[in-house]
Amino acid sequence: MDSSLFFNITTIAYFAAMVVFIVYLTSKNEAIAFGATLICWAGFIANTVAIGMRWYEAYALGYQQAPLSNLYESVVFFAWSILLIYLLFDLKYKQRAIGAFVIPFAFAGMIWAQWSLDATIAPLVPALQSNWLTYHVITCFLGYAAFALACGVSFMYLIKVGKEERSAEESPIGGLLGMFPSTKVLDDLNYKAIMVGFPMLTLGIITGAAWANYAWGTYWSWDPKETWSLIVWFIYAAFLHARFTRGWVGRRAAWLSIFGFGATIFCYLGVNLVLSGLHSYGGS
């Protein structure tokens, strides 16, 4: 039994949860939503076990490193973070339908990692061997995961509000949209998720700077990855200010959130795959 078995279970569980959530939207049966949530928990536990085992496997090979050392490990950790944030939001706000729009991000990550990323455990080069790496990656990814949830919720908002406006006269919206939370709740969840993600990203940038300073003697060198994390930070800062002082809520907030998540993904993947830089993931 090794970690790859559990990673496969995780992938299957996220796929199943996604499908069951969609079935829930059509069937409107709360029991089905509960089932989907249980599958999410099972997948999350499998994901946790898999990451733990991989940690141990690296340790057994003589590498004392957290399982956050290459693109594969970071993607499966991203999926884990999305589930963590999602499940916390589920416990607190109990809006089951958003699972249908959030779990796909986690599933997409897992299937990409399983299918096309190199899963070999490789040692870290000396420059990356530091506990700061662990803190940095964890805080950044919790931030990214909260932004993923905000993005999923924003899609739901836009779909729902569009439909509501088109069928304003007809009484209650049925179909798939009947199970969506109200637009007010969706808008609020978007904000709440960003309120979690923003301090996490702030911490992520700061731990990254602390690490760079400790390892290289500069806390900021404007390398593309750093700069993109700052760009993402600026976008969400603009989102927050536009929201509570200029009343950018609803549709505009939703678009800004989707745009922000696009920038987040570019920061995470695009920079390494498209631009060049100092960071270790992807690319080379």
Binding site: G62, P123, V125, P126, A127, Q129, S130, M195, F198, P199, T202, L203, I206, A209, A210, N213, Y214, A215, W216, G217, T218, Y219, W220, W222, P224, T227, W228, L230, I231, F234, I235, A237, A238, H241, A242, T245, R246, A263, V271, L275, S276
Partner: protein, 454 residues
């Protein structure tokens, strides 16, 4: 005069506006992309080769300072506007917030009550004083001790929690300015440099970035030893370290083994392990056995030298590999048969002394060891602003968590005699997270109801 006035007013309003803040944030985000797409600080030739630009394109982009854009005048101006905006906006709003916190409205009139989304009226029995005491007790227990005022036979209560969370936003904003100040201190009084030190030697000067002559420092750094370790089954270096000694007037004052991620700091200068290289030719030691007689000798010498063997021949070490195809240290040698003709080169391995057995020939050669002198490559940094930056970061995190997750909650109660008994009006608000406050308020209403009906 009045026109002058209106211009400064306009300028002030411009720098206080939040529209400006949002536009600046978005402009910073958008323009920052340029420097991630165009590599920064390369030479003109590199740019023209890398991107295939013509001379005129290069000149245009150069005049826009796109090749060092994060230090360009326009980018720094944008950051300057951002800072001024933040300062003006805070100056404008802070007095109001201080007033809210320091001089709260203690007596809520009907007009104020109408603004509350959480309010309740209860009719109680007894006197104003007895009702007041009950309400004070409930508030004290469930929320915070209220300030009590009386006037015209009425009683006014005011209680609040988390008033200081109003300052969270200002802590956040100030922290950004503190980070800017730290960065400026670093830019003015800090520097980046490098120095290479050969094993066994010491230096008392470092090379600032871009300088052609070294800059003296007021102490000496000696490199006693340099080590490099490789991962098994791969040429990747696992760890490299230097044993550094700091000397002042010839006295050892500090000793530390530094590795990547574990630097040495002395007198504000930090020495980071960043690279290494070989300094000079290696010195070899071999054991050479005459196959015919079984006699063995140990010889030692530098690369390229003829190391004589008994009987007129000589062994010539030609090259050295630290980790030849993962078999560890290896030397390439050849044997000169005494006629100054080089023989066929062959390899000997330190970790496999028997390897040369199979080659045949007159001698069996074993590599005993190689002393390769290394130099260690150190980055040297001085940044007196870094602690200011960390202070700013700390405040940024504390402040934004405060701004997001704490809220200033206030409750007002007015107790007045009515015809049917004593009227109790309760109202309250929170400056953020209203849903949670609404829940709390409902609980409080129930508690008050219970207390007053008993």
């Amino acid at each position: 005069m009045s026109k002058q006035q209106s211009f400064t007013d306009q300028l002030w309003d411009f720098f206080c506006s939040l529209k400006l803040a949002i536009i600046t944030l978005i402009l910073l985000a958008l323009t920052s992309i340029i420097g991630t797409v165009i590599q920064q600080n390369k030479s003109p030739q590199e740019y023209m080769e890398m991107y295939g630009w013509s001379e005129s394109t290069f000149k245009l982009l150069d005049s826009l300072q796109f090749f060092d854009m994060y230090h360009s005048y326009w980018f720094l101006s944008l950051l300057g506007i951002f800072a001024v905006n933040l300062i003006c906006c805070s100056i404008k709003r802070l007095p109001r917030i201080i007033k809210v916190v320091r001089e709260p409205v203690l007596k809520a009139d009907d007009g104020l009550f109408r603004t509350f989304s959480n309010r309740e009226e209860i009719l109680a029995q007894g006197t104003v004083e007895s009702v007041r005491d009950k309400v004070v007790a409930v508030l004290g227990e469930k929320f915070a001790n209220p300030v009590v005022n009386g006037e015209d036979g009425k009683s006014y209560l005011f209680a609040q929690k988390g008033a200081y969370s109003r300052f969270g936003v200002y802590v956040t904003h100030t922290s950004i300015l503190i980070i800017f100040v730290g960065a400026m201190i670093g830019n003015v009084w800090g520097f980046k440099a490098f120095v290479n030190i050969t094993e066994g030697q010491s230096v008392n000067a470092i090379w600032l970035r871009g300088d052609k002559v070294p800059t003296p420092i007021d102490f000496e750094v000696r490199n006693d030893d340099f080590k490099v370790e490789f991962y098994e089954g791969g040429g990747r270096p696992k760890e490299y370290s230097s044993d550094l000694v700091v000397l002042e007037n010839g006295q050892e004052v500090m000793k530390k083994t530094i590795e990547v991620n574990h630097p040495l700091t002395y007198k504000g200068l930090t020495f980071y392990q960043s690279s290494y290289g070989v300094a000079g030719d290696p010195i070899y030691r071999f054991r050479v056995e005459n196959r015919a007689t079984g006699d063995a000798v140990t010889i030692m010498g530098a690369q390229g030298r003829h190391l004589s063997l008994p009987g007129g021949k000589a062994l010539i070490p030609m090259g050295y590999a630290e980790n030849y195809q993962n078999f560890g240290p290896a030397a390439q040698v050849n044997i000169d048969k005494g006629d100054h003709q080089h023989g066929t080169p062959f390899l000997v391995f330190k970790n496999f002394p028997q390897f040369d057995e199979r080659r045949g020939g007159d001698y069996k050669v074993t590599l005993l060891d190689v002393q390769q002198t290394y130099y260690t490559g150190l980055q040297v940094a001085k940044d007196p602003g870094v602690w200011v930056v960390w202070l700013g970061c700390l405040l940024l995190v504390v402040g934004s968590c405060g701004a997001f997750f704490l809220s200033h909650r206030r409750i007002w109660v007015t107790i007045q005699p009515l015809e049917q008994g004593v009227g109790v009006k309760i109202g309250g608000n929170a400056h953020r997270n209203q849903p949670a406050f609404a829940l709390f308020f409902d609980e409080l209403k129930k508690d008050l109801d219970d207390a007053l009906s008993s």
